[in-house]
Symmetry: D2
Subunit: 139 residues, 4 copies
């Protein structure tokens, strides 16, 4: 494990669908909230990352498994983990829990790195490596 | 009335909230769908507008009145109208109906024009005037 | 002023559009986040409100004025205020600021009260009055 | 292949992020638009399905692979396919193309069936089998 980071926030009303549960598409977004919070904790917020390094991180694949539902007013904990050293791509694992520590969802998100101007693939920037090492297991 | 344009599309499941109705925030987005469709009909799709004219159209204000609810599987009709010649700003009026011609929502959206590089206000580009005249009352 | 409540959270990446700013539709959602947080602080979370009182709060109208833009990594402060005693409807005023205390947006959201089963209008429940009095000006 | 269904619609401006591309989370929603359109074509719109059969279809897992980006004004084609006879679960495969027939994304979405009242799993309703057989390969 290279780094592990945790962020908590309540479910928002508009995220709940007519089954009375958080719509499944929002978990993809929660994973992004987790990743961005991790980068901020590493001293490299995503906005700064894009602006200073001229690199962007498009998502290559997502895989999510839904185990239990979340409801309005639930407070979610999103755990973001990087286990493998990023090369051309970075793999972020997520676990999302509710306030009762029930595991709601697991996810694996793979992202690439591209140069903003050419939109061509590039290797993981050194600054990103530093950021995730800085996060470490501080959680 | 300078121009009037109509577009139809079904409500999407994820747009419905736990009251079993379209969440109110989506109507703001439906108005945008209507505006963009109008620009496309005028031969000036928003993507091209931004790229070729180096101008962007940020929203200055929105005002929406909700009269009846929409539900999943409803097919909506979004009417977009421009009544006043755009100057520094453009005012778009919207009416949103369901398949039974029930008026669900009225809206007034005001947008500005800014230069993409400086982000400073600019006047309504001539190409936009031409586009909405081209749309006319063709609906 | 009957009550005033404040909540802070960072802009999410997916909320930013291709102008590089928070899409205007999200402010409507931020106002909801503010309202729900206020109700939670008053001891009446929206989920409990709906379930126990069998009442729902559909939005009747929204009016938002956008003054400055928000960007990714900005931390927003949403202020929610109720000035007039709710009767058939409740009017919630919002002000949204960034981390530099720049006022980004003002909003007025009007909501009604309906019975969940009949979907007919009902008066503001006593529990809602109590909740907002409990919030008071605690902020 | 039991059924295959196609629906087309333009990218919406608000779906594009600050990389200038459709945010990856929206493809999860596009798959849902494809599924719901397929059910409507089979004579069993999702709203009716929920209301008449008292069954809901929560998503169990999603897996998406992103191959090329979509941009504003692109017109997308969402292909939805069911290859295996649904039992306790149904697996829907999606392919999403742009107007130039470039494959942007492939997806596999697995959904379960639960009774609305008890929220307990149930088998795929006969009406769902009929609906997808009715769709067939009509596309």
């Amino acid at each position: 494990m290279i780094c592990k980071s945790i962020v908590k926030f309540p479910v928002r009303y508009y995220e709940c669908d007519q089954m009375g549960i958080v719509h499944h598409s929002n978990y993809v977004r929660y994973c992004e909230v987790g990743r961005c919070d991790m980068m901020t904790k590493g001293g490299l917020p995503i906005g700064e990352f894009e602006k200073k390094l001229h690199v962007m991180m498009p998502v290559v694949s997502v895989e999510l498994h839904y185990k239990h539902v979340a409801k309005v007013d639930d407070v979610l904990t999103v755990v973001s983990m990087i286990e493998k050293d990023p090369m051309a791509k970075v793999e972020v694992l997520n676990e999302i829990y509710n306030q009762d520590e029930v595991l709601l969802c697991t996810a694996k998100i793979v992202l690439g790195f591209i140069k903003s101007d050419t939109r061509r693939p590039t290797r993981c920037p050194e600054a990103f490596h530093e950021a995730i090492r800085k996060v470490g297991l501080g959680v």
